[in-house]
Symmetry: D2
């Protein structure tokens, strides 16, 4: 995925509409949580099994795709305006998680996963 | 960003810990909303101006980076298990938004942005 | 529940700390979504069955209680600063839902519940 | 506010539609986060000042009222199915916050409020 190119496209989209005034990191973070809420809405009454066997051509799959893309759009905008390298940040967090959840003790262990 | 490679790394991370049983799309969507909530927490008491002028080396910037990476990790997992092409989905949504918010009428117009 | 009394207690708590400057409706809405995210975190890796049979004295039940109270606190603050009558608003929405989901067609129907 | 009466009304609403099967605590928590996301959507592009001076008869005020009521509805359902005393929980959290944010050191201090 060409992150820089997508961010450039979104930057132009925003500038053409004079929307930079609305795109403070605070507002973009808030917009990302709204989109995450819409993603949750797609899955909220489904069983886990139903969510695992969604038909590729179902309305719910199309809705999930759309909401995931909207979350990604705000992620791209936020990392752009905050000058964060998203790929680097992801690799750092995975490394941290590897240390935090060692294979031995975390195997099949949901509780490890739970609240601090 | 090499999406396929990051998804592969996360797939191995999950398999090694036998966590696929927890990674239903429903649960991953729920985890993504938790991370979005933690992102919101970073910005909730800041003014928009403060969010625009965050110091690169501040605790808040580090926290924003970490939470954005966590959101991205669940986005990568979700698009992987649902077989969604994230880049394609993003481009489709941008195209839809270009049609929905024509430059002329949307210029500097926050209300266009508001609730259906 | 004495809503007015709780709102009065929270109003004093806020005024004593000179926090009204932070409690704009926008910020309070953002704080409410953070707390909702923490509530989601409690349940995200649990099965539905596990969530139905939570032990009254478990850490997860204590966490759920705490997060639900935090959501309520921001709900009380928001309805206070916006001069919204919460009980009236709830009754109106239930009435709307009764019209929207007639017993006959909605019986046991999860799809009715799904996306617009 | 007569919590018990509202919970009874919602319990009947749910039973008449045979929706108890969908109302696991996990699903209700997910639905609450969706509604919190819709609340965030109302305020995301507004300035803090605009959110403080919302007109009582505006579309945004009506939307805020509706979303706050929806959050409350899921809060009522969740505390009902989990047998949590919401008023008690709120009072406990306020007492904890009073201890956590002593008036002296917290006065006008946004950073106290920030991330752990």
């Amino acid at each position: 995925m060409n992150i820089a190119k997508l961010q450039q496209r979104l930057r132009e989209f925003t500038a053409e509409r004079d929307w930079d005034q609305f795109h403070s990191p605070k507002n973009l973070a808030m917009a990302l949580t709204s989109e995450a809420g819409e993603l949750a809405e797609v899955f909220q009454w489904m069983s886990e099994d139903q969510s695992r066997t969604l038909d590729e051509s179902s309305t719910n799959m199309a809705a999930a795709k759309e909401e995931l893309a909207d979350v990604m759009i705000y992620l791209l905008r936020l990392t752009d305006v905050l000058h964060i390298n998203l790929e680097e940040a992801v690799n750092e967090n995975i490394a941290l998680n590897e240390a935090k959840y060692p294979v031995g003790v975390s195997r099949g262990n949901a509780t490890k996963y739970n609240r601090r």
